[in-house]
Each structure stands twice: as C-alpha cells, then as structure tokens.
Amino acid sequence: MNKQEEIQFIKRLRNGERDAFKHLVLSFSSLFFTKAKLYSRNKQDAEDSLQDAYVTIYQKIDQFHGNELGKLLAWCQKIVINTSLSKYRKKYYSHERDELTPQTDIEISPEVYGQFEQAELLSIIQLLPEGYRQIFSLFAIEGYSHKEIAEKLNIKSNTSRSQYIRAKSKLNVLMSEHSQITLSHGI
C-alpha cells in the first residue's frame, strides 16, 4: 500500500465504509490477535477482547488524526491492549500485589532464547501465568517503564519490577524445559 493508498484507506475508514473496515479486520487481525492473547487469560478471551476492540475502533476512528498506516496500526493496537487489560487486571493484581518480594534480575543467555523461532518464543511466553505475562509483555514487548506499568495496572512500581523479574525467571525455566523437550524429541 503506497502513501496515497494509505491516505485513501484511512479516509474510507473514517467515512465508515464497510469494505475498508473489512480490509482492516482481514489484513491485521493476526497482528492484533497477538496483542490480545498476551493480555488475555486464554484464546477465547483474546478473541472476545479483539471483537470488542474492533467495535471501539469503528466507533472512535474519527479521533485518529494521522494519515499513516503505521500510526493507525499502533493506535489500534493500543485499543486492543487496553480492551484486553481492562477485563482482568484489577482482579488479578488485587491478589498478587502483597505477596511479592524483590528479587535479583537474571540475564538470560542468547544461547537459550536464540534457539527458538519467534512463534515458538511467543508460545512459551503465552505459558507464563497471566500476571507475569502481562507485565513481561508490557515491559519487554511494548517498552513501558515499570513506573508506567504501575500507573496503568494500579500497582506499585516495585511490584511491577519484582513481577517482571519473576516472569523472566519463570520464562527462563520454561525455555529450558522446552529446549530439553525439543532435544529429547530430536534424539
């Protein structure tokens, strides 16, 4: 899609054209679904969240003022993440926030994560407990700081930090396990 086509596409979206919105759903659902899964409890919840997000995107497309597809997709992804998070985050963290103690961050060796394809790595992250997964994704994939995550999830920033350390540690274990399984299957 060249620049002119992007502008036209966004304009048609703003006008509420069915075909343009269909194109958005068919072309970019796989991208948005990745985000929805990272912040949802399970696949079904992720699909529900993505549906809700699409409805919100359609209702609020007037508020998107850019003319670039990249910015449109980033704006849509934020709505997907928010919609997914808004369902569960309060309940989850109300249970977890008090049981955390600070830990020391670990460094995962490139030999460990380098052996996985991107899709595999994503699947392993999906195996993390929901709370770990959300904080890990917000920090490592979306690039939020712990302070921002704390404000977003209504938790303390130390909680976010320690949750992330735990998530990373857990991910290291999962990757090691997954690696051994792969090796054993390979033998």
Binding site: R14, V25, S29, K60, L121, E148
Partner: protein, 489 residues
C-alpha cells in the same frame, strides 16, 4: 538487557494465527455500517461562525476600499471664485472646461497670486486653528469662495479664518486621504498666498501643508466625506479647489457630552469544543480519548469594563461555561464486592437467587454497553484587556483575557485506571486557568447601548482529573460564536 532488546525487536510485530473471516463475521454483525453522518449541529455552527467572520471582514474591507478610492468620476466641477479687491471679501471665478488630469488648473485674478494655490491657502486657513469648526467662532475673513457643480446644487462657501461653511451645514476640508493628494501638493509651485492686506491668508509651505494634513487627520472627531476625485480634475488651474471636500462634524463634537468610562457587557455564546487527554500512561490516555468526546458548550459572561482611553479598556466580571461530553464504551470488567452472594451474578441483567447464599467477597464480571452524556461546569473570573477600533462607522474590539477558575464541577461517567466505569462525581477535579481571545463587532444603539457579535477561542490547559484516577490531564479548546449587549453608565 540483550534479552529484552531481542524480544522487542522480534516479537512486537509478530502475528498469530486466527480465523480472520470468522472474526469479520462476528464483528460485522455487531456494527451498523451506515455511512457516518456529520454532526449536523456542530457542522452548521462552525459554518455560521465562519460566515459571520467573513461577512464582518468583507464589511470592513469594503468600507476601507470605498474610503480610499472615491468614485465621483462624473463630477465636472465648475468652480467660481469671486473676488472683491476693495473689500475684505475677495472672490475669484474659476471656469473649468477640461477634465482629466490630477491638477485642476484655472486662472485666478490678482487677489490671489497667479501662482497661488487656493487649496494650500484654504488648507492652512482651515486647519491652522483647532477651533475652526466650532459654531461659536464666526469671525469673518476677507475672502469668499463660491463653488458650483453642474451635477448638484451649486454650493456657496465662505472661507473665514476659522471656518469653511456650506449652506447645508457641511464643511470643506482638504482631500487629505486621496492617494495622489500629496503628490499634487508637492507639484505645486506656490507655497504661499499673500493677500493684499496680508490678513486673510497665512503664508505656508510644503512642509506646513503636510503638517496641516497631519493635523487634519488628528482631528479625530471629523468625518471626511470625499465628493470628488482628483483624476477628474482639470489641469487648467493652479488652485485645486476640488481638493476641498465636504465633511461633517460628528455627534460627539456637536453634543460635547461627558462620557462615562464604565461599561457593562453581557455576552452569551455557543460553540464547539475539543478535548485532549494526556498522561504518562499513554494506553490509559488512549482509552479515555477513545471513550470520551467533547460536544457543544454554552457560556455566559458578565463583564464590567473601564475605558482607559479612546482605544483601550480593562475589564473583569464573572463567566460561566457548561460543556457536554459524550461517554461511549462497550466492554466488561471485574468488580469485587463484599456481601451476600450466590454462585453466579449477572450484573447487567438480573441476580439469580436460586442457588445457595453465602457471605464474603465475590467477584462479578459485568458487561456494559454505555452511552452517556457528561456535563462539566466552570465558573471563572475573567480579566481582560480590550482594544477598540473603528473602521468608518463600524466598531470592533479585540479582547485577550485570562480566566481564573473558582469553581469546577463534573458529573457523569468515565473509565478509571483499571478500565472500569466510575462516576466523575467521585473524582477530585480541578481546573486552574483558561486563556481567551475574542474578536467582536459592535454597533451603537442610541447613546448608551451597543450590541455585539463576535467569536471567541478559549484554551483551558491542565484540567486535572485525579485522586482515584491515574494522573491524567485534559486540555480543552472552545470555539464559539457569541452575541451580547453593552451598556454605558
């Protein structure tokens, strides 16, 4: 941090397998794909405001155009200057047969030098004395000049030292505002006119002419009404009598009424609004921006102004602004409550009480489809400066101001930072300061009243919503069309 870098670079754009066609089927069944309609009210309001501004500007520029380019091209002036050498009153007769040049030349008799410039004389005579147009000053001078126009009634004017009066109470003044007037003056060969007895006309010079022109402009109470165009004047004479144009004396000069410096204005406006929420938590800000949209606003202002001088005034008063916002959200959220509960609770529908009861903390999933209208109200103390100016009889003022908020109230719904609906009533809110710039057109109604129409742009930054919400700030932009009345005391 190598690991984090690797994850961000490789997974942020990762796609997952999903049945997009099924997703489209589900989504399309939930969306009514009618072409989005424009918001009629706001569309028309904006259009009307824009048109009003255009009309005001057109009026203004049309007047300026008319003023600077008089089109009296058909006036063929036949000027008579009657001269009486033996009396203080001197008359010179001027016949005009040709029209076309910027200089209207004719021969005058010896009461005026052949190189004399009657215009110069009249100019100097007329404006040398600031009391020249007061009715009380009727001192006679020795020269009478009569002008005649074939088109209109031949007016007869008397020049005396202080006054140049026509029959119909109009006066003659130099054509100071015509574009070529100064050029004409510069081309004049004669810089002085001396009468025999050296009483009637005062010697002058080019520089003095300029000065008198300036003085004429500074006589702000005089309205100049050009009646002839230089380009149609004959080049047969040295005396540029048509450069003298009639003017009238404004009401203020006639009445000499003492004006009170205090004015009270009431403005009422309606317009469109824009809101932008910002936060360090950009996702939450995006969520709020996606669920809230500012609609129309209404405001009313009472403003007491003190006139510092002809152009400037300061004012203060009280301002009320009411803003309507739309809150629209579809989704579900978890809510934890203490109390008696049963196995499953459906909040938005009904409570099934057939299952056994228990007490304690329970969590319910609540699905909501909300579309509500929020209301924000501001009460402000405005402090403003006004600059008044006139273009002919059209009055305008520019009014920059600052508004200090003294009360702020919000009522409605919003999404709190855990993504659940909450009431604005519960949130501590504050609005500090607003900035406003307005442009108004004003017309007098009688001596003491004016009506106004104008447009105002107001910016309200740093309106904070907070305590139980994530740190987030609203920035509002209000644009309105307003009308008002002003009373002088």
């Amino acid at each position: 941090m190598e690991f984090e870098k690797y994850i961000k670079e490789n997974l942020s754009e990762q796609r997952s397998e999903i049945d997009a066609s099924k997703m489209w089927g589900d989504v399309s069944s939930r969306i009514d794909f009618k072409e989005k309609k424009r918001r009629g009210f706001l569309y028309w309001l904006t259009s009307i405001s824009f048109l009003s501004v255009v009309i005001i500007l057109l009026l203004m520029f049309t007047d300026i155009f008319n003023f600077s380019s008089p089109s009296i091209t058909d006036h063929r002036l036949q000027t008579q200057i009657a001269k009486n050498d033996n009396s203080p009153n001197t008359q010179t007769k001027i016949n005009v047969s040709d029209v076309g040049d910027n200089v209207f030349k004719t021969k005058s008799n010896n009461s005026l030098s052949s190189t004399s410039d009657l215009k110069t004389t009249a100019t100097k005579t007329l404006f040398n004395n600031k009391n020249l147009i007061t009715d009380s000053n009727t001192q006679k001078v020795s020269k009478n000049i009569s002008l005649s126009e074939p088109v209109a009634e031949h007016p007869k004017i008397n020049i005396n030292q202080n006054k140049l009066l026509l029959k119909n109470n109009t006066y003659y003044s130099p054509l100071t505002s015509l574009p070529n007037a100064s050029n004409v003056i510069k081309k004049d060969r004669v810089t002085s006119i001396i009468n025999k007895d050296k009483k009637d006309f005062i010697s002058t010079s080019k520089s003095q002419i300029k000065d008198t022109n300036t003085s004429a402009r500074n006589l702000e109470l005089i309205k100049f009404i050009p009646t002839s165009s230089i380009k149609n004047l004959s080049h047969l004479r040295d005396i540029m009598l048509p450069d003298l144009v009639p003017f009238t004396i404004s009401e203020k000069l006639k009445t000499d009424k003492k004006v009170s410096p205090f004015y009270l204005s009431i403005y009422s406006g309606i317009g469109i609004s824009k809101k932008d929420l910002t936060s360090q938590d950009t996702i939450y800000a995006a969520l709020r921006n996606s669920t809230e949209s500012a609609l129309e606003h209404f405001n009313i202002t009472a403003d007491l102004q003190y006139r510092l001088d002809k152009n400037w005034s300061i004012g203060t008063g009280i301002d009320y602004l009411s803003l309507t916002e739309k809150f629209e959200w579809t989704g579900s959220y978890q809510e934890t409550k203490n109390g008696m509960y049963i196995d499953t609770i459906f909040y938005s529908t009904q409570i099934d009480s057939t299952v056994s009861f228990s007490s304690g903390t329970y969590t319910a999933t609540i699905k909501r489809n909300m579309k509500k209208y929020n209301r924000y109200q501001f009460i402000n103390i405005p402090i403003s400066l006004q600059y008044h100016f006139k273009v002919n009889e059209h009055g305008f003022n520019i009014q920059p101001g600052v508004l200090f908020n003294i009360a702020y109230k919000a009522k409605g719904d919003y999404l709190n930072n855990v993504g659940a609906p909450a009431l604005l009533d519960d949130a501590k809110t504050s609005a500090s300061m607003q900035f406003q710039m307005s442009l108004n057109y004003e017309r007098e109604i009688g001596d003491d009243w004016k009506w106004n129409i104008g447009t105002a742009l107001r910016w309200a930054p740093h309106t904070r919503l907070g305590n139980n919400a994530a740190a987030i700030e609203s920035s509002y932009l209000f644009y309105n069309l307003r009308v008002g009345l002003t009373r002088r005391f």
